[in-house]
Amino acid sequence: MNKINTYIRPESAKAAAAALADCKGKAVLLAGGIQIVKTMPPGVTAVVDLRDARLSYIKKEAACLKIGAGTTFSEMVASPVIKKWAGGMMHKAALRVSSNMIRNMATVGGSIVRPYPFNHFPAVLYALDAKAVIVLKGKTSKVAIAEIFEKELGSELGRTAVLSEIQIPAGTEKWNGVFDRVAKTESSWENIMICAAAAEIKGGVCKNIRLALGSALPKPVRLLKAEKSLSGKKITDILASQAGDIGAGEAGSFNSVSAPSEYKRQIAPAVIKRCVLAVS
């Protein structure tokens, strides 16, 4: 364990970003602390704890649903808004996070900033087309959640930048949504594969669909080709099977975390198909 000599509790995300800057790379952000306390990066001597930064909230506004990055999974589970949004997919994903105590501690922001393969929310927020509000060098900006996973931005978060809020577009509220996962047991946190699907279905026809896989690859991945194969069509069993094959093919190389990659390659079409049928 590192020797932590400075413990800082800022009262806002901006103050947290300023504290990180003051510490010149020797500080790390702490939200729920589930991952960071046991895996403190080398050289870190200061902790910036976000507990007083007022980042725990869920607000439904006209344009979007705003979720403070410091919102715990227990708070998400208890939220009536989260329970209903997009078929309750965020509720289900939060409820199935590890254990009661972890849900009381771990935050939605933490699961994005430290996107370990088994985290539920990277795939869920991908499927819901979420945006991330980030504070860096005193400036606040909004980026697509994909930029955190696909670009270098992810490595900045928690060291120089602060993720303060997640925004979910209001349009997805009435979409159908599904969160599914494969694990060795119901209560195991070590997911083998996660699939999240959100879709706008009108008159039985799929107007929009977003599919994402997690836990199976080094990073969460959106299945654009599979989405395209379903868009504008009435989803049938055959179409869902085809989407499963397409999605598994475009996902790339599966990792061997928690199960052999060959096993993941074989189950991926079925997992994707199941989600596509459920979301339609």
């Binding site: 364990m1 590192n2 020797k3 932590i4 000599n5 400075t6 413990y7 800082i8 509790r9 800022p10 009262e11 103050a15 504290a19 702490l30 602390g33 589930i34 306390v37 046991k38 403190m40 902790v47 704890d49 507990r51 007083d52 227990s74 409820l95 590890s98 254990s99 009661n100 105590m101 972890i102 009381n104 501690m105 209560s187």
Partner: protein
């Protein structure tokens, strides 16, 4: 205003409410809350896996069950911490502790402090939980002696005892 605490000679001077009484503590740099509590004699908080998987180190922080092995001791500064010693003891057991004993839910006993604290959190917010809600609440407390049937019964018995006590 941003609050900052600097360690002196690798020691943080912190204060938190432990089992209802505000106290000052000296927390080592990098020391977990579990390590501090056990060093201070609160041995009811068990060290099991030390990786956040078993629930033996559970304490209540501001009324919510959390894992003391996954928290730095300095994070407790300014908060309210309840350990099993703050719930009750042999001379004055809490109805939840009585229910666990009477239901035969205690075998080796190692996991029980964590289970009792989680039960306290559950019954404080939900006095009449269903079996599913009890199992969900206890899903992070591993018991290697038994299945979980007796513990679920114990929580239901505790709910009855607490409800009767409240009516009196």
């Amino acid at each position: 205003m941003t609050k900052a605490i600097e360690s002196k000679n690798d020691i943080f001077e912190i204060e938190f409410t432990l089992n209802g009484a505000k106290k000052a503590f000296r927390a080592g740099a990098g020391e977990t809350l579990l390590e501090l509590l056990r060093r201070e004699g609160y041995r009811g908080t068990k060290r099991g896996c030390d990786t956040g998987d078993c629930g033996s180190c559970t304490v209540l922080i501001d009324g919510r069950s959390m894992l003391s092995c996954m928290m730095l001791a300095v994070q407790a500064d300014g908060r309210s911490v309840t350990t099993i010693e703050g719930i009750g003891g042999p001379a004055d057991p809490h109805p939840i502790q009585q229910a666990f004993v009477e239901s035969g839910a205690v075998q080796c006993g190692f996991c029980i402090p964590g289970m009792i604290l989680v039960t306290k959190e559950l019954l404080d917010s939900n006095p009449e939980p269903t079996d599913a809600e009890i199992r969900q609440a206890l899903d992070g407390n591993l018991c290697r002696c038994t299945g979980y049937v007796k513990q679920v019964e114990a929580v239901k018995n505790a709910a009855k005892k607490m409800s009767q006590k409240a009516k009196r």
